[in-house]
Amino acid sequence: MSDWLLIAGMAVLTFVPRYIPFGLAGKVTIPPLISQALSYVPIAVLTVIIVQTTLIRDREVVLTVQNHHLIAAIVAFFVSLMTKHQFLAIGLGLVSFLMMKWLSFG
């Protein structure tokens, strides 16, 4: 029973931050400086998530070829930068990850 209460609480606390700005849209005008700031949200937030999940393995910064996540992210970064092709970048990133994993076991 208390597990269901936890899920209910999670549902509310996940929904509310998503909804507040949507509910206010059209009723309040956003100052230009704020809307400028908001345009940087995707770059800022996603980069932090990328760096924290690639560079940090098991709560330590790992900058070696043993860090397969890092290698895959670097491959995806350059493929994306040079070709602008999302499918290709994701595919080659995954292939490089699997190859690294396979090589390290071989």
Binding site: M10, P17, Y40
Partner: protein, 245 residues
């Protein structure tokens, strides 16, 4: 506003690469959750009613370490604050959407749908098919998430060590391919660089407070350096506004 079926399907299509990347995430969630001892109904209920990958993962991890429920809830809230930033940046597009439609749209706001939709917004500011595109992306993402959670739950009962396969790499790769096309000028690059450096310096902060701190610092750098471009854009926008009046 008419809902264009074509635009709806386009939204779904444009989200496909991200959904493929999120699939392993759903699989791992389902597998972890069921191996954590949650009932099948609870595992699926979380995907159905919460629908937030990061929150669901954090919850499973915290349940594993027998964390008190209020702490779990506080963590979930903080992890989700980035969605508030996402939603705020879509406010201009939501202004014309009916009040009741905003409720499911808010519920379905995820990293994947935000990335796809904001990409379209950056190409075409005034988009009368915005709602159809958004719903196409969101509904496809939601149904995929439910399917892969279920599949992970089913497989997880047979393959308990699925979490050690490193499947989360797909999500990171997908995020990389979202961010790179957004890096158009030096202010964007500076924003990303700041985010990256600060992410390393703050990763040990509790409950993803480092994520929020780093994001705010990076946004501030972007705004400060992008200021010259911005004043020009704002001036053009103000001109357009006065024309319309």
């Amino acid at each position: 506003m008419p809902l264009s079926t074509r635009t709806f399907l386009l939204g779904a299509r444009d989200t496909t690469p991200l959904i493929i990347a999120a699939a392993p995430f759903g699989l791992v969630y389902g597998a972890l959750a069921i191996n954590q001892g949650l009932s099948e109904a609870l595992v699926m209920a979380m995907s159905i009613f919460v629908f937030a990958g990061a929150s669901q993962f954090v919850t499973i991890a915290l349940l594993a370490s027998a964390t008190a429920f209020p702490v779990i809830l506080a963590t979930v809230f903080i992890v989700n604050l980035r969605h508030m930033l996402y939603a705020a940046s879509l406010m201009p597009q939501l202004a014309k959407v009916s009040a009741w439609l905003r409720i499911p749209m808010a519920f379905w706001l995820t990293d994947e749908t935000f990335a796809t939709v904001s990409n379209r917004v950056s190409r075409a500011k005034d988009d009368k098919h915005f709602t159809a595109y958004y719903l196409g992306s969101a509904i496809f993402m939601y149904s995929s998430w439910l399917f892969f959670s279920w599949l992970g739950m089913t497989l997880g009962q047979k393959i308990p060590d699925i979490k050690s396969w490193g499947l989360d790499v797909a999500m990171v790769i997908a995020f990389v391919t979202i961010v790179v096309p957004l890096l158009k000028n030096y202010a964007d690059w500076a924003c990303a660089l700041t985010a990256g450096v600060s992410a390393i310096l703050t990763y040990h902060w509790p409950h993803q407070t480092g994520l929020l701190f780093s994001s705010f610092i990076a946004i501030a750098v972007g705004v400060a350096l992008g200021y010259k471009n911005n004043t020009v854009i704002t001036a053009i926008k103000t001109k357009e506004k006065t024309k319309n009046v």
